[in-house]
């Protein structure tokens, strides 16, 4: 039954503990709705055939509703509606009351990407959220600019993300796999591309992954240079920190808007046309060269105003910056094939400048 309705209604896979609850009520509500509208339609047709006008000026009886009829007309729909409400509200309360032992993840929405940070320490990420299966995860969400809405159809969860305060939602994924995050609240030009991905891993695998990530952080701290002592986070994070301290972000935006220099969003592997007219793909080599000798290959439309960073950036720092630039994708970074055919992996979006 579940399978049939699920197919008939074209619902996405049920991948959280909430999904079956929502779907069961959905089946009930839609069945009653269909029945009511079909009955109304059939009754109309039946009356039409039975009570067609037979002659000109035909007179008709006065039909009046009895009190019983009126009570039925009010009572029956109200009964169904309230039944839906009671069930729906129960589920909703269940959904808005996270269990005590959740794993907390901070989520920030901004035009047009999702960022994640683990409350207990761990890697920060853009676009991809790794979570364990069968463990409740709570998301504490806020926005940097306008309203967004965090929506994972396969989990049936959705919550608006507001600037200036936190909202929360939670889920407990039931099946390992990759699930798409969509933005459901209109937020501007690339609202329709503000996608991300939840990667659900089996619990043990996730723990191992987390340990590895944290170890990776520590390792990088050791090799990270003189101020590594208080540096935390992945190499990407380190790159971002350098970008901030070295003033890169004064000229390069991260949100797709061209500023004094080209935006870093989606810069990696982008085909850029240079002042000289030739075109170049912004790969690691180009990015590194541009730090050392910025005026050699200036992108068309921008002034050659960038100072050289030769001698100011150590090799690991330049590498971290490149890694950071590589991480700036408006959609998910991961190009791994998805095992569950839940959605097609994000393609490099080339239509955007």
């Amino acid at each position: 039954m579940n399978e049939l309705m699920h197919k008939l209604l074209f619902l996405p896979p049920q991948a959280s503990t909430l999904a079956p609850k929502i779907d069961n009520l959905h089946y009930f509500v839609i069945t009653v709705t269909m029945a009511a509208s079909v009955l109304t339609g059939l009754l109309t047709f039946f009356f039409f055939f039975k009570y067609r006008a037979r002659r000109e000026g035909q007179s008709t009886p006065i039909v009046l509703p009895s009190v019983k009829f009126e009570i039925a007309v009010i009572g029956v729909p109200l009964f169904f509606f309230l039944l839906w409400f009671v069930q729906g509200f129960q589920d909703y309360i269940w959904y808005t009351t996270p269990p005590k032992n959740t794993m907390d993840v901070y989520v920030m929405g901004k035009k047009w990407m999702w960022k994640f940070a683990y409350a207990g320490g761990g890697p920060n990420a853009i676009g991809t959220l790794h979570v364990p299966a069968d463990r409740p995860v709570r998301l504490l969400m806020t926005s940097r600019d306008v309203l967004h809405s965090f929506y994972v159809p396969d989990f049936r969860i959705k919550q608006d993300v507001l600037p200036g305060r936190y909202t929360e939602t939670w889920f407990e994924a039931t099946k390992p796999g990759r699930y798409q995050i969509l933005c459901a609240e209109y937020c501007g030009t690339w609202h329709s591309q503000m996608w991300g991905e939840v990667v659900v891993m089996p619990g043990a695998e996730f723990d191992a992954w987390m340990v590895e990530q944290k170890a990776g952080l520590a390792e990088r701290v050791d090799t990270g240079g003189d101020d590594g002592g208080n540096m935390r986070g992945t190499i990407v994070e380190y790159g971002k920190k350098i970008a901030m301290t070295e003033g890169c972000l004064r000229c390069h935006s991260l949100d797709g808007q061209p500023h004094i220099g080209p935006t870093w969003l989606d810069l990696y592997q982008r085909r850029e046309t240079l002042e000289s007219g030739e075109s170049v793909i912004a790969d690691e080599a180009y990015l590194t060269d541009s730090m050392i000798d910025p005026r050699a290959k200036v992108v068309k439309g921008f002034k050659p105003v960038m100072p050289t960073y030769k001698g100011r950036l150590a090799a690991p720092e330049a590498a971290a910056l490149v890694e950071f630039i590589k991480s700036l994708r408006s959609t998910s970074l991961e190009n791994l094939p998805s095992k569950e055919a839940t959605y097609e992996p994000a393609k490099p979006t080339t239509q955007r400048r």
Partner: protein, 134 residues
């Protein structure tokens, strides 16, 4: 017919112009007194009672204006309903919104402003739920 009922309700309370201007001056005097009272209480710190008191005095003043100056006491029933309804809907609006504000979780109220400066979520090491100051 409609007209008959109109005549009844609008002008049925006959002799509307018999009352003199005295009542206007009396109402005026009361309004002035109330203003004085509300200013006086405004200077005092009555804690939680400040707002209810000020609003009660304002309501009394407003009722007097509506009832005597605006001649609500002579107005047709429909007009009374119309005007009162608009205030009812003002309350509907306020209480509908406050049903939300009073029951929102603490962290989703605007004065718990998360940091939005800088390009990154700034999460202190091992942070639990956002801090609830106040």
């Amino acid at each position: 017919m409609a007209e008959a009922t109109i005549t009844d309700s609008a002008h049925g309370k006959g002799g509307e112009h018999h009352h003199s201007t005295k009542s206007y001056f009396v109402v005026w005097a009361i309004l002035l007194t109330c203003t004085g009272l509300t200013v006086w209480t405004g200077y005092k710190d009555l804690g939680a009672w400040n707002l209810p008191l000020a609003l009660s005095i304002a309501t009394v003043k407003a009722s007097l204006v509506v009832w005597y100056f605006m001649h609500m006491r002579e107005a047709a029933g429909t007009n009374r309903i119309v005007f009162v309804t608009s205030f009812v809907f003002l309350l509907v609006m306020i209480f509908g919104v406050f049903g939300d504000l009073w029951t929102r979780s603490e962290m989703s109220l605007p004065y718990h402003t998360p940091t939005t400066e800088g390009p990154e979520i700034q999460v202190p090491e091992g942070a639990a739920a956002p801090a609830h100051h106040e």
